[in-house]
Amino acid sequence: MNKPTPRRSDCGHRDGPARLPAYVIIPALLAALLLAAPADASDMVCRANYDFCVEVDGKYPPDATFFTADVRGKFLVDIPSNGSGLLIDLPARKAVALTSDLIARDQAPGIMKVKNPIPAGAASYALSIEGPVLRFQTDTSKVRVLKVLDRPPVVGPITLDALFSDRAEYREAARLYNPEKTAIDSIRQSKKTLEVEAFFATWCQHCKIYMPRFLRVMKDASNPNIKLTLIGVPKNFGLEKGPWEGKGIQSIPVITVRYQGKDVTRLGTHETAIPEAELAGIISALR
C-alpha cells in the first residue's frame, strides 16, 4: 500500500521563507540570479560514444569522434583534423556546422560542451538515414556515422599500437579497464618465454567487449618474454584463406598460448573472463 504523502507542515519546519527579513531575501535572490546567469548554464554536455565511428569521404580520421548530447536527439561529430564540428539535430533532421567558439573541450576525457542554442544563420545540411547509417553532405565532405562493427574490418596481423590508434573503441575500453595489479605484476615478472596469438574481429561484438581488456593486460604487463601476435579475422573466415586456417577456430576471439614450441592452452574469452588472472594462472602452472 502507498504511504500517505506527508503534508508540508509534517516536515518539521516551523515557518516558511515568507517570514525571513528583506535583507536576507534580496541578496539571496540576487545571488540566485547571478548563479543562473553564466552563459555556460545552457551548454549541451556531449559524451563520446565509441560504439559509433565517423567516416569522412570514405576514410576514418583517427581523431573523428561521435558524441551523444545530454539533450535528447542531439549528437556531436567532432573532427579536429578537419577543423570542424557538426551538431546533429535528429528531430530537425539536419547537421549544423559549429564554429570553434561554440565548442569547448572539457578537462574530463571524452566530454565536450556545445553552446546552446546555436546562433541562427549557421550552415546546416540535410540528414538522411539509411537503416543503421546516418549520412550528410557538407560543403566539402561526405560524412557518414555508422556502428564501429560496420567499418571495414582489420584483416591480418596488426600491432597493438596500430590497433589502438585505428580503433577508438578498443583504445578507450582498454583505458577504462582496471586490471588486477598483482596479476599484472606476476605476468610482468615472468621469465618464461611465451608466444600469445590472438585471433579477433573488429566486426565482432563479443571481441569489442573482451579484447580491450586483454590488450590492456598485455600493454600493462609489457613483458619482453611474451610475444603477442594480433591477427584480425575477416567475416566468413571459414571460407577465406589466411593465418586463421587450420587453427581449429570455430568462434572468435581465440587466444592461444604457446610455450616451448607447443600450444599449451587457450584463454577463456567469455564476457566475464578476467584475462590477467587467467594468464597469470597459466604462466604459474607452466614448468
Partner: protein, 300 residues
C-alpha cells in the same frame, strides 16, 4: 546375434523416441525463439519460419510417440532419420557460411556449437538406422491403442506449441525472478552503478512495431522526477539498435546484449523489471510500468 540386434534396436527406438519427445517439449517452451533460430539460416523468411516452427514441433512429437508406442516404428525411424539428415545438412551449410549460433534443436535454453550439433545428430542418425535395421516386422500388439496414442500426441504437441506463448510458465523456464541478483542474470555491467541504485530494465525487441511506442513511454518515465534510471537491453543487433536510435532517439541508454545471454530472461518481449540494490525487485510481465508503479515501488 539376431536377438542382440533386436534388443539394441528396441533400446535405440526408445532412446530416440524420448530424445525427440524432450526436444519437442523444450522447443515448445519458446516457439518464437525456435522460429527465430530457424529463420536465422536465411533459407526461409521470418513469416514462414513462424508457421513452420509449431508444425515441426508437432511432427517431432508425433514421430517420437510413434517410436515409443510402436506404431509403424520402422517408418517412424525412417522419417526421423530423414529429419536428422536434413538437420545435419542445414548445420553443415550454416557452418560453411560462418554461422556460430546454436540450432535451437533443444529449444532456447540449451546452447551448443554447430560442430557439436552435427556430432550429436550423427549419433541420433545411427540410432535411427539401428532401429530401422533391427526392428524387423515388430510393431505394437494393440495397434489401435498405439494409433490413438500417436494421434493424441500429434494433437497435443501441436496444441501445446501453439498455446505455449500464452501459458503463464515464464518463471519455470526463465531465470528472471524477484530476488535474483543482477550479477546472476549477467546484466550488472549494463546497469548504472552496476545495479546498486534503482533502475528500470526494459527488454525490448527493437524491430518490433511497438518498440517506438514503448520507447516514447520510457522517455516519459526516464524524465519523471524521482523515478529510477531507465535502461533498455535488446537481443536486436547493433545495426538494428543504430537504426532504432536514428529514428526514435530515445532518452535512455540501449545496450545490445548477446542473444543467448538475454534469452535466459524472457519468452516474450517487451518485458520490464525493476532492479533495486542489485536485485530484481519487481517484474512487469503483462503491462508496461507507469510512473505511479515505479514511485510506489520506491515507497514500498
Amino acid at each position: 546375434m539376431v536377438k542382440v540386434l533386436s534388443y539394441a534396436a528396441h533400446a535405440a527406438r526408445l532412446a530416440l523416441g524420448f530424445i525427440f519427445l524432450a526436444a519437442g517439449v523444450l522447443k515448445s517452451l519458446d516457439v518464437a525463439e525456435f522460429a527465430h533460430q530457424t529463420a536465422g539460416y536465411g533459407l526461409i523468411g521470418p513469416g514462414l519460419a513462424a508457421l513452420a516452427a509449431p508444425l515441426l514441433i508437432g511432427l517431432e512429437g508425433t514421430l517420437a510417440v510413434a517410436l515409443i508406442v510402436g506404431w509403424r516404428p520402422r517408418a517412424a525411424a525412417v522419417a526421423i532419420g530423414g529429419l536428422l539428415v536434413l538437420f545435419i545438412a542445414l548445420e553443415a551449410w550454416g557452418m560453411a557460411q560462418g554461422r556460430t549460433e546454436s540450432c535451437g534443436c533443444f529449444g532456447a535454453y540449451v546452447q551448443r556449437t554447430p560442430a557439436q550439433v552435427i556430432l550429436e545428430d550423427t549419433v541420433f542418425l545411427a540410432l535411427a538406422v539401428l532401429a530401422w535395421a533391427g526392428l524387423g516386422p515388430w510393431a505394437a500388439r494393440r495397434r489401435r491403442l498405439a494409433a490413438g496414442c500417436m494421434a493424441g500426441a500429434a494433437i497435443f504437441s501441436l496444441g501445446f506449441a501453439l498455446a505455449s506463448p500464452h501459458l503463464p510458465i515464464d518463471t519455470l523456464v526463465t531465470r528472471l525472478r524477484v530476488g535474483r541478483t543482477a550479477e546472476e542474470l549477467e546484466i550488472a555491467r549494463y546497469l548504472p552503478d552496476r545495479g546498486q541504485g534503482r533502475a528500470l530494465v526494459a527488454l525490448l525487441d527493437l524491430t518490433s512495431p511497438d518498440a517506438k511506442a514503448a520507447s516514447e513511454a520510457l522517455n516519459v518515465l526516464h524524465e519523471t522526477p524521482g523515478a529510477p534510471a531507465v535502461i533498455a537491453l535488446t537481443p536486436s543487433t547493433e545495426q538494428e539498435e543504430a537504426a532504432f536510435m536514428w529514428e526514435s532517439y530515445p532518452a535512455f541508454e540501449i545496450h545490445p546484449v548477446d542473444r543467448a545471454t538475454l534469452k535466459r530472461l524472457y519468452r516474450r518481449l517487451p518485458l520490464y523489471f525493476l532492479v533495486s540494490n542489485g536485485r530484481v525487485a519487481r517484474i512487469f510481465r503483462l503491462a508496461r510500468p507507469t510512473a505511479a508503479d515505479l514511485l510506489s515501488s520506491e515507497a514500498s
